[in-house]
Subunit: 147 residues, 2 copies
Amino acid sequence: MADNSRMTAKTGYRTKQRERLLAYLESLPGRHFTVNDICDHFRAEGDAIGTTTVYRQVERMVDEGLVQKYHIDAGTPACFEYTGKLSDETPEEICFHCKCEKCGALIHLRCEEIAAFRDHLASHHHFTLDPLRTVFYGLCENCRDAE
Amino acid sequence: MADNSRMTAKTGYRTKQRERLLAYLESLPGRHFTVNDICDHFRAEGDAIGTTTVYRQVERMVDEGLVQKYHIDAGTPACFEYTGKLSDETPEEICFHCKCEKCGALIHLRCEEIAAFRDHLASHHHFTLDPLRTVFYGLCENCRDAE
DNA sequence: TTGCGTGCAAAGGTTTTGCATGGCA
DNA sequence: TGCCATGCAAAACCTTTGCACGCAA
């Protein structure tokens, strides 16, 4: 590890597909996409990008820190979200996810209490919470009221 | 929905496969299994249970609240853990789970900050957190130090 | 020119579904 | 008896890999 700001190691080519993909994800920050969502978008545009390419490029962007990958549930496709390059020192910018067990709604959360809870876990229970992997399950407002 | 304490609606049959499955999971509480693990166990015993049946029974147990389901990574099989029937009305008895992504350690937590965080989610974000389904992923003390 | 990127096809693995049979109540 | 549960086979599904061709540097 410990390779700092230099990313000379492996920059990769700037292909047309990568540029289009990046521009699309960048245009909708904070929104979640599956690989299928992305492929559908470009197919609808009339200039499709191969599924394999999307998988490989998105994986590369995750490695580069431009895109976050979330595993919401087994059996469902992985979700990707453009966040831009985040510093390791500003984890507060990362948002957590709440998933409704009933209607399946996915809610983004970014508040101080969560960060505080994370700090509590670290300081009192020596557990480093991973916001990218952790999903809070429960009931959203509508589904709770409907019960 | 709104079927309260009566579970007369759908109790299901008590088949031999279900009893054996339940007895096995019950005998190793807190340990997690994949469907394949379970099938291998019974195949080794010489009296196999069909994969489809295991999937269906385990899913039913999750619905009944006897078993908890979570997944570590996309592309890997889902994990199941026997927890027994927990009451919805006794949150003090409910503990949260932290799972180390590296060594797989499962840590049980029960502290006031978590309850406070849960209240915050409910009052400020209108989200009712389900402690039985939610697993916090991250790094345990040892694995974090080893990084 | 060199070598990575692309995309089709096919494989890999997990989970679900169709359907005939068998067992519980 | 009626109906659910079982389990085999096959499908559906997400993701990865092999390989020939094309494009960036």
